[in-house]
Symmetry: D3
Subunit: 130 residues, 6 copies
């Protein structure tokens, strides 16, 4: 199985079109390793990029909030690559040291109390049942 990442120079027209759109949308000179590895499956590359582009665009939530949520999920799942890349993305979007500290504190507490609720088998309050 070919496992090498695909650089722009070696990419097919389809893959280049995605790379070009990533570079233009994010205003960066090259795409990250994530995209270069996904490029082994051009259909997944295109679909994933189109979804990310739509989901991470400014909307009811601003880009910084979205990046911090992405980071909190990645930290919860323990995905080293995703933690590194989304820490960088969140910083670029404006996350300060103080914001990072509070984000980690909330992420940690949520992981703790999720298990306390599981272990004590707490039934959902009537008021929360929608």
């Amino acid at each position: 199985m070919s496992t090498a990442p695909i650089d722009y120079a070696d990419a097919s027209a389809d893959v280049r079109a995605v790379y070009d759109d990533i570079k233009k949308t994010r205003n960066v000179p090259d795409v990250n390793n994530f995209w270069k590895y996904l490029a082994r499956d051009p259909a997944t590359l295109r679909r994933t990029w189109e979804s990310i582009k739509e989901v991470m665009a400014p909307g009811a939530l601003d880009p910084l909030t979205k990046e911090m949520v992405y980071l909190a999920v990645s930290v919860t799942n323990g995905c080293a690559y995703c933690i590194a890349s989304h820490t960088a993305a969140a910083r670029k979007a404006g996350m300060t040291d103080a914001m990072f500290g509070e984000l980690m504190a909330v992420t940690g507490m949520a992981n703790e109390t999720n298990r306390l609720a599981n272990g004590y088998r707490v039934p959902v309050d009537v008021a929360f049942s929608k």
Copy 2:
């Protein structure tokens, strides 16, 4: 093992002190089931409340952002009680339908791409290695 939740009327002075602080801090008439079950272990009840109170207070991140991060983590972990209670808390803090929709979209995408990064064994870009 005593498994019944502890209501205010049946609580010890230590437990009542925590319940009173929760009710005052959150301006609510009663505490949620989570606290009534934790009350079986007064030390854990007190410690957890003091941590939550400190971590969820307004700071570099506003309370709504913190509640949405809490919800994203709870959804990732699949904790039914926590999803119900923090959806309610986020709504109370101002989460609109549109914000909820985007929050779930980001949470879903993060869980997807975390696994794509794992499966393709993507090495961390030099630029992200701190």
Copy 3:
């Protein structure tokens, strides 16, 4: 697909042999639902019981410690059935209210600090690298 649990009266000789061994080993009048559902696949029923029997037998760790570890893992994974059944098993093996409270406190803290270590990308100390 047949999804009904298999009761002793309706079980094949192979399944009955496993049920009999569970009842004798644990000194109980009937097997739990877990085994009645696994019985749909007699090979998995037998293999799982033999493994559990070997792993949970007294050894360097006593049965109570083993049941508490089982519960801590089940709470971390959020498996409702397993939390219920292993809470019951741990109580039967001697877990007191105070022990349960401390077990949940440790389980919660471990889930919290696991994510803090992830998020802060803490490198392993040289002293811990074996």
Copy 4:
């Protein structure tokens, strides 16, 4: 605690017997690191190998399908060792680049929609309740 892997030359008769069976069953010249580390606990080594041997044997599902399922679970859990070893095993069993791409796409989507179902608190359809 002894943490070094146990090579064939240094292994006890019990451990050698398991190594020999692995090498014969899989037609390989040596066992992987996984087995050499598990060998620190000969009982776990033997029990784990016997279970793997039984579970991964051809049956109603062919070996390639089983290896791909193993890989999808390992990717979901983020186990780096398991992802590396089961990618190799799946390739050896016939997984092509195209199959790997689709396997990752399904694994990613499942992880995404699992969280959407959690977050939207979707009740099980009556038709699915067995």
Copy 5:
């Protein structure tokens, strides 16, 4: 926040278009609860359906294999809704009782050995490092 599922009769034209495509593609008289809840966010409904439709289409892997992988991931994550719906989908695609039994056995073993590899801190074999 509006939390009620959206039935066809009450759906907007955009949502109806997605429902119609699901019904036609799957040849079913109505859509599952999952889609009726996602419909609260039409953009996520459309994007998720288009991705699922593309990912689950026959390709290098057949639809039954894809559904079984989806089920293995959902079981690993403990998503009750997803387990119920994808068990039904896999059965419809041809999963027999024997196949289900083997699928669960592999899923269980993978979850076990993932943790053994973590706990013994097994380094990746040179042969697997790509």
Copy 6:
């Protein structure tokens, strides 16, 4: 964002006070990397240490049991740093090779049967429903 760990010589008075208490409580010459990275957020450093100190103190459960539970959770979550540091802590508290082997065996089995219970959708026995 400042990502370097904070050594004692460069620490503020607040951070030094926590470091001193860790060193005194654990009777160690220096603190682990975990604390040096957390020190970037003094409030989280202090809160986390105070919680850990309280939770891990001898009580109804002895320190060795608590460390082994911590390790079982860390292995389940796949946190490499935590596995390394709590393996060292458990050994220091008296965990033998035989105890480690049984701890991993129980942790592995719990992760396996959690998924079997999920996949077979086993309903909680009436006897376990509290």
